[in-house]
């Protein structure tokens, strides 16, 4: 493992960005496949093959392109580009804040795409996505703040190399982050705006009007985003790379189990519970850290 991390550290920024660009969709797709298989097993089903997400996306790219208006896919392309960009920023070791804000920009494009088609289902989905964004944004910023308090730097490169274990200093922040990760991974109980599961009350929410290649692109973007988020989980355990990888995967499994065990929340509950949890876990952790110093 140490030799691997040495190799990674010897890469230049461009090489790291490229590696992320090429490897993240593969990792994200496999994770999504494991997710579906595991979900099925938890429900007592056999489940689709692990490669299923790739089949879905390849098929979507073979479908005819149907549009409601001719500009609707443009925000989706930008959503893809900026998500990849923020992931590349993160894995190249740039400022974590920059990655977060760039990801927010990408999310904004996605929401605008949902608004722009002026379809009722899509509109409601976008509106809910927006509420979700408002719900998780404080915690995401607090993660960066907490890491800065411990390591004294916002750059991912410095945080990774920090000797002490972040998780010991930031248990509350980590708990809060896991809570909002459920929103970011689009898992139940917070899969309000769009869902990977069958029928929901908004048809397919924000993605209702996007089909074929655009939907495939949204799916791939989601893989990139998941890898980026798991990268953020990695940072909490970065003092030991093996442990960190196990912890990231463990977090992902945990989210799947949560997904299987909860019914969907209303947006009101989603909103105030995530702000409250952020306040209880994240804020208190940061204030305690503040006094420790």
């Amino acid at each position: 493992m140490n030799s691997i991390s040495e190799i990674i550290q010897s890469w230049s920024i461009i090489e790291r960005m490229l590696a992320f660009f090429l490897l993240a969709p593969i990792a994200g797709g496999v994770l999504a496949g494991i997710d579906r298989k595991l979900s099925a097993r938890l429900q007592g089903r056999y489940g689709p093959p692990v490669r299923q997400p790739f089949f879905d996306v390849l098929k979507l790219f073979q479908k005819e392109r149907i549009l409601v208006n001719k500009f609707q896919n443009f925000p989706i392309v930008l959503f893809f580009l900026f998500t990849v960009f923020s992931g590349a920023l993160f894995f190249s070791g740039a400022s974590i804040l920059l990655a977060i804000f760039s990801l927010a920009l990408a999310g904004t494009f996605f929401i605008l795409g949902g608004f722009s088609v002026s379809s009722p289902y899509s509109h409601l989905g976008a509106e809910r996505e927006l509420i979700q964004m408002m719900s998780y944004e404080p915690m995401v910023i607090l993660v960066a703040v907490g890491m800065y308090q411990v390591t004294g730097s916002f750059t991912v490169a410095d945080i990774v190399q920090h000797q002490a274990s972040l998780i010991l200093y930031l248990p509350g922040v980590f708990a809060g982050f896991v809570y909002i990760l459920t929103i970011k991974f689009r898992k139940s109980p917070f899969d309000l705006s769009m869902s990977h599961h069958a029928h929901q009350e908004l048809v397919r929410g924000i993605t209702t009007e996007f089909s074929g290649p655009a939907l495939g692109l949204i799916e791939i973007t989601h893989w990139y985003e998941n890898v980026l988020l798991l990268g953020m989980v990695y940072l909490f355990f970065a003092f030991n790379p093996w442990l960190a990888i196990v912890a990231s995967l463990g977090t992902y499994l945990f989210e799947i189990i949560i997904d299987m065990n909860y019914a969907r929340f209303k947006w009101q509950l989603t909103f105030w519970s995530s702000w409250l949890f952020t306040a209880v876990a994240g804020v208190s952790n940061i204030i305690v850290l503040c006094f420790l110093k």
């Binding site: 930008l78 904004t108 002026s118 509109h123």
Partner: protein, 631 residues
């Protein structure tokens, strides 16, 4: 020094000309254009001249100036008393009376022998402010040339007084230059009162019940600020024989805490922080150029300007903590309230207060990185917010409403205007644009000094993102079909201004390293002795994003608009019951039209509860602030 005097006197001359020349003359418009070019060019000249120099102080002592200022002050006081009595409102009379008594007794007793070493000064921060006032101010005056006739077309019952209007606008510009260049606190106070007067008269321009109400509320609050300002000045002179800004900062903190708190109080009133926010939201009845110029980009910035100037005195005191908390509370609560508003101008007003709150909080922290962030916020906010106000002003007349819910399909009805508006909104909160750079810097400053504030910022940005994106979503929703484009009757004057401001929103962002390293850094270095070190990689990445957007957006629009052909168009999904895109067949063969409305989350972010809470909390903080200063 001559340049400074010119900048103060020149708008004054123009304002007198605007009042004197009869209506409708071509020459008047020409003068207007020339004046604006000059007002734009001179601060840039100033910038070029002083780019590599430190602050410069100028001696200017003349009894003539002081006496004429005194006379004007008395005239203003008399005028306000006259108007207030006519409107049967006696609180302003009392305040003006109090203020005049304080100032006059001071002038005739100790003020006679007062020696002022440097009356005027210029440093990087004043140049930045002058650039904002000069460039944005003059652009907005251009806009007003096109706007005012339409305003009167729209409100037939309002008496057309364009000469009076332009007189006040230019007078205001003159006063603003006065505030940013004066070192003599008496002068700052004098110009301060003129901006109060201009604001009052311009809010009441429409002259109906609602605008009179708002105008007097603004007047009362700002006069209260003025009284406290005056008390602070008198106290300052009696305790330490000083009447100059640069000397005030160097004095021993024990002596000058009370005057500094008094001045900061006046700044809080002017920048409409809690508990004084209600005057700014009321001021939205004024014609749009007024809102854009006075109530978003310049006058309210004078408040934070003066707070930033006196902040060094408050350093490490409880008063500074209180200032920081008032800023934080204003930032957070007004960001929340903005979510529940559907009136476009009110959303803009609350967002203005919110951003000013952030700047005040930075001033309260007053570390080098906080002030650095505050100045960046001032610059970016001024450009983007005035642009948004002007856009809303046009939309209001074309649609006959300033309600966000009426702006459906705006991109089809006014494509160009929507594009400009999107630029402005992106400038307010999105990643590569200015405000977010400012917020990044602010976050860094907050975490370094006080992580509690970082928490406020985290929640506040969540709320900010919400109300901006839902507005953006509203205006860019597209309906298939042909719409009548409604923007053909927007006047050329208005387009020019919108163009200038939109370009500067983008340019301010691309030129951000230039602004930060050449303008802001030297100033911070002068004051604090060290400055912010920005990670160059982050700067490159921000620039890359910005340039990427600039290239991608037009390319993408062109591609999807013209090149992209291989698709099939279908209707939106309406459960299969489509009649067309927005109508579907309901029960009993009725045809139902879909209507899309935004969420306002009234239950969580109701205006009444939150506003009162904000006033209550900040009143307590204010009392503590004064309490510790006096003790």
């Amino acid at each position: 020094m001559n340049v400074l005097i010119f900048l103060i006197v020149f708008p004054l001359v123009i304002s007198v000309l605007a009042l004197a020349l009869p209506r409708g003359l071509l020459i008047k418009r020409i003068i207007g254009v020339i004046a604006n070019v000059v007002l734009c060019a001179v601060p840039i000249y100033l910038l070029v001249t002083y780019l590599d120099k430190g602050p410069a102080y100028f001696h200017l002592e003349s009894h003539l100036i002081n006496n004429s200022m005194l006379v004007v002050e008395i005239l203003i006081a008399a005028y306000i008393i006259y108007i207030s009595i006519r409107a049967k409102r006696y609180l302003p009379v009392l305040l003006v009376f109090l203020q005049s008594v304080i100032m006059l007794s001071f002038e005739f007793t100790s003020g006679r022998g007062m020696q002022i070493e440097h009356s005027l000064f210029v440093d990087k921060f004043s140049i930045i402010m002058a650039l904002i006032v000069g460039c944005i101010g003059s652009a907005i005056c251009l806009y007003a040339i096109g706007y005012i006739p339409e305003y009167h077309e729209h409100y037939k019952e309002v008496k057309a007084r364009p000469r009076y209007f332009f007189f006040l606008m230019y007078l205001f510009l003159s006063a603003m230059f006065g505030i940013v260049f004066s070192n003599n606190l008496m002068w700052i106070y004098f110009f301060w009162e003129i901006t109060t007067l201009c604001s009052f008269l311009l809010i009441g321009y429409k002259n109906d019940q609602a605008s009179q109400e708002s105008a007097f509320r603004a007047l009362i609050m700002n006069l209260l600020g003025g009284v406290v300002f005056a008390v602070g000045l008198v106290y300052l002179y009696h305790s330490s024989q000083v009447m100059e800004l640069n000397k005030l900062i160097q004095l021993d903190k024990g002596y000058v805490l009370i005057p500094a708190v008094c001045i900061a109080f006046a700044g809080l009133v002017k920048s409409a922080q809690f508990p004084f926010s209600s005057w700014l939201t009321g001021a939205m009845v004024a014609p749009t150029p007024v809102s854009a110029l006075l109530h978003s980009s310049t006058m309210v910035k004078a408040g934070v300007y003066i707070i930033l100037r006196v902040a060094p005195v408050l350093e490490n005191t409880v008063a500074a903590k209180m200032l920081m908390l008032i800023g934080g509370v204003s930032f957070l609560i007004t960001a929340f309230i903005a979510i529940s508003q559907s009136n476009a101008k009110k959303v803009l007003a609350y967002s203005t207060i919110s951003n000013l709150g952030l700047i005040v909080a930075c001033a309260g922290i007053n570390t080098y990185s906080a002030v650095w962030a505050a100045i960046l916020l001032i610059i970016f906010h001024a450009v983007a917010k005035s642009l948004l106000f002007l856009c809303v002003g046009i939309i209001e007349y074309k649609l006959g409403s300033r309600d966000i819910e009426d702006m459906d399909y705006l991109i089809m009805r006014m494509p160009k205007l929507t594009a400009i508006m999107m630029t402005g909104m992106a400038g307010m909160f999105l990643a590569p644009f200015g405000m977010i750079i400012g917020k990044l810097a602010t976050l860094k400053a907050f975490v370094d000094s006080n992580p509690g504030m970082a928490i406020i910022l985290a929640y506040g940005s969540g709320a900010t993102v919400f109300f901006w994106i839902k507005w953006m979503g509203k205006i860019i929703s597209i309906k298939h079909g042909v719409f009548k484009v409604m923007e053909d009757r927007v006047s050329r004057w208005e387009w020019i201004t919108l163009g200038i401001l939109a370009i500067s929103t983008v340019a301010a962002c691309i030129g951000f390293p230039l602004i930060a390293f050449r303008l802001v850094d030297p100033f911070i270095l002068e004051v604090f002795g060290k400055t912010v070190i920005v990670d160059p990689f982050s700067v490159y990445m921000i620039l890359l994003m910005m340039v990427g957007l600039l290239i991608l957006l037009p390319l993408g629009l062109f591609f999807f608009g013209f090149v992209n052909k291989g698709y099939k168009r279908v209707g939106t999904y309406l459960g299969g019951a489509n009649i067309d895109d927005v109508t579907f067949e309901g029960a009993m063969e009725s045809s139902q039209t879909i209507e899309l409305k935004n969420y306002y989350l009234e239950k969580f972010f109701g205006e009444n509860v939150l506003f009162n809470a904000g006033v209550f909390i900040s009143l307590i903080l204010l009392v503590i602030m004064f309490g510790v200063a006096i003790i």
